[in-house]
């Protein structure tokens, strides 16, 4: 290395401005850079302009003061941060106190760090040695001597350990090394679901006879409660008692609306799915699964806040705008003998966005 260490070269030394590999005496095998023969000649450095601080001792003194001031500012900031931590403690239950604590502590620490950083840069720019210089790259290949020595070391190691000679030991070591990652493979595989999760995505908690209940209270909803223009946020009965309530809610959340029965355009086979204009649709957007609940009671549009998909609730939630590709799945509902709304069945299709086994 030492023989290529050109160190700092000042612009007026002859080598300055020469491309690597041409004037500097390097063999063709050192380095990988390709220098075309017709390359533009390096124009070298522009003439050196001395700084104001070099010309005027007053400005030099000034810059020195500024750097000192910045470092002092850092000291003040750090002390201020410490003081702010004590003066503005976080009072449990008072969110305003968190704000003050964060603000002043943060300002103090910022000043502490920024003062050092700005001061150091200012110092380097205004007061440290400022003449332009070039440090040349050196070749990456070692000397023949170094290379021979390295080979020698390897051969000696092989000889002394008997790695090449004692093949049984060598091969068993290789076998052992190959096998060590195997438990990790098994462990990582264990993180994946045991069974195919597709079934979980195909079904929700809803099934025949499950009551529609208020979110979050779980109180059952009577058909007579759902007045015209209403929107109810619905969870299946018994959801709150389940240990996997959140996972189930993510699939089973339903929006219940009441429209004029004559406004609904019901397709064949879905005639019994609404109850006197009360309709229930999955709240999970078929685009990427955001909760869709921005219901407009006059236009009967349902808007997804994430990507602005719009569903027309009078036409069985068909997509009228946005990236969603499928209508929202409808939950078939009816009433029981006491007038409570119940599900006729689960959704007839998987809720939510596409997944690997479902593309349409």
């Amino acid at each position: 290395m030492a023989q290529h260490d050109d160190g700092v070269t000042t612009p007026d030394s002859g080598a300055a401005g020469s491309p690597v590999g041409s004037t500097v005496a390097l063999s063709s095998e050192s380095g990988t850079g390709v220098v075309p023969l017709d390359s533009v000649e390096n124009p070298g450095f522009p003439p050196h302009n001395p700084r104001q601080t070099n010309l005027d001792p007053k400005k030099d003194k000034n810059a020195e003061r500024q750097v000192t001031f910045l470092f002092f500012l850092s000291i003040i900031g750090s002390v201020f941060a410490l003081a702010a931590y004590m003066v503005f403690p976080i009072v449990p239950g008072d969110f305003g106190s968190i704000r003050e604590n964060n603000l002043f502590l943060g300002l103090g620490i910022t000043l502490g760090l920024l003062g050092i950083g700005l001061g150091a840069v200012h110092w380097a720019k205004q007061l440290m040695r400022e003449d332009e210089s070039v440090e040349y790259r050196h070749g990456t290949r070692g000397t023949e001597e170094t290379r021979a020595k390295a080979v020698e070391v390897f051969e000696l190691g092989d000889q002394e350990s008997g790695f090449g000679r004692r093949t049984l030991i060598r091969n068993s070591l290789i076998g052992a090394l190959v096998l060590t990652p195997v438990p990790a493979v098994a462990l990582f595989r264990g993180l994946a679901p045991d069974t195919d999760p597709t079934a979980l995505l195909n079904h929700t908690m809803w099934k025949k006879g499950v009551k529609l209940t208020h979110d979050p209270t779980g109180v059952p909803i009577k058909a007579s409660d759902v007045t015209l223009g209403s929107a109810f946020h619905v969870i299946p009965e018994g959801l709150n008692q389940r240990s996997d309530a959140l996972e189930q809610k993510a699939k089973a959340a339903v929006l219940l609306m009441r429209l004029q029965p004559e406004d609904l355009h019901v397709t064949k086979g879905r005639e019994t799915w609404n109850y006197e204009g009360i309709i229930a649709y999955s709240q999970i957007c078929t685009h990427v699964g955001c909760p869709v609940a921005l219901y407009e009671q006059q236009t009967h549009h349902l808007l997804c806040p994430c990507h602005q998909s719009q569903f027309d609730m009078t036409h069985e939630a068909r997509v009228i705008f946005g990236p969603a590709r499928r209508p929202l799945p409808q939950l078939p509902i009816t009433i029981d003998s006491e007038g409570y709304l119940i599900a006729r069945s689960d959704f007839h299709e998987p809720v939510g966005p596409d997944y690997w086994e479902r593309h349409v």
Partner: protein, 271 residues
């Protein structure tokens, strides 16, 4: 009632002296009760009579105001026209909400009527509301007990997140809807208007009747809104509570701007 409590110490006194019959105290209590009850009945009948008279006056005033200001679009008999919906069954609460927030009378036909200074005094608004409310059954003006903001803010916040936040934003900052419509900001909205909006579902807002969100739950939601109004954002500047849009814009301009500025300063040669 005050009268009977005044009487009881009097009734006890004779027992101490023992000069009056024990029945005297009972008789005195009876007389007291009858007197107060009678006075109350008399007062309340006169009160209700005067209320009816006042009410009649209010309805007449409301009827006149309606004919002058609303009937062109909503019809002489509230039946609605091509321009505006029928007002039968919208209730007094709906009228009070629309008129006192200035949304009605409408300035122009558009995607949504906007809040503006109210065109009527409170008394005139009340007259209009009572008049429309008297024509058909609908949600009435809410009782004051739910409007004090004395409910449970935590429960209100949960209900708000479930029922309101998707349109009005979790901090009540409002948000966009389809085709130029929007859910307005809820900051500074009075408890009365918040309650009336929930029960009547103005414009495209769904109705949240008392079976959906009970009156005490509505009071909880109002308490939460009051809490939001009173308490500063714990995270400092909330930038309109618009989430990644305003925060991202702020960082793009000021955060990246600062980085660019420092970079230029770092690499510039000193003069």
């Amino acid at each position: 009632m005050r009268k009977s409590t005044d009487i009881s110490p009097l009734a006890r006194k004779p027992r101490k002296t023992g000069r009056r019959s024990p029945l005297a105290s009972i008789a005195l209590i009876l007389i007291g009760l009858v007197a107060t009850g009678g006075a109350y009945a008399l007062f309340s009948t006169t009160a209700s009579a005067s209320t009816t008279a006042a009410n009649q006056q209010l309805l007449t005033e409301g009827s006149k105001l309606f004919q002058a200001n609303c009937a062109t679009c909503h019809g002489m008999n509230l039946e609605g026209t091509q321009q505006a919906p029928s007002l039968l069954g919208v209730g007094a609460a709906s009228v009070q909400f629309q008129v006192s927030t200035g949304r009605m009378p409408a300035a122009a036909s558009g995607p949504q009527e906007e809040e503006k200074p109210s065109q009527f005094t409170d008394q005139q608004t009340l007259a209009l509301a009572e008049f429309v409310g008297s024509k058909a059954v609908g949600p009435g003006i809410p009782s004051k007990q739910y409007l004090g903001g004395t409910g449970n803010a935590a429960k209100g916040a949960e209900l708000f997140r479930i029922n309101c936040a998707m349109c009005h934003n979790v901090a009540g900052a409002g948000g966009a809807l389809t085709e130029g419509k929007y859910a307005p900001s809820l900051s500074g909205v009075s408890a009365l208007h918040a309650y009336e909006a929930m029960i009547t579902g103005p414009q495209n807002m769904p109705v949240f009747n008392d079976a959906n969100i009970t009156p005490s739950q509505k009071a909880d939601i109002i308490t939460y809104l009051k809490y939001l109004d009173k308490n500063p954002s714990p995270g400092g500047l909330d930038l309109g509570n618009l989430g990644p849009v305003s925060e991202g814009l702020f960082l793009w301009i000021f955060g990246l701007g600062a980085i660019v500025g420092v970079t230029i300063w770092l690499t510039a040669k000193a003069n």
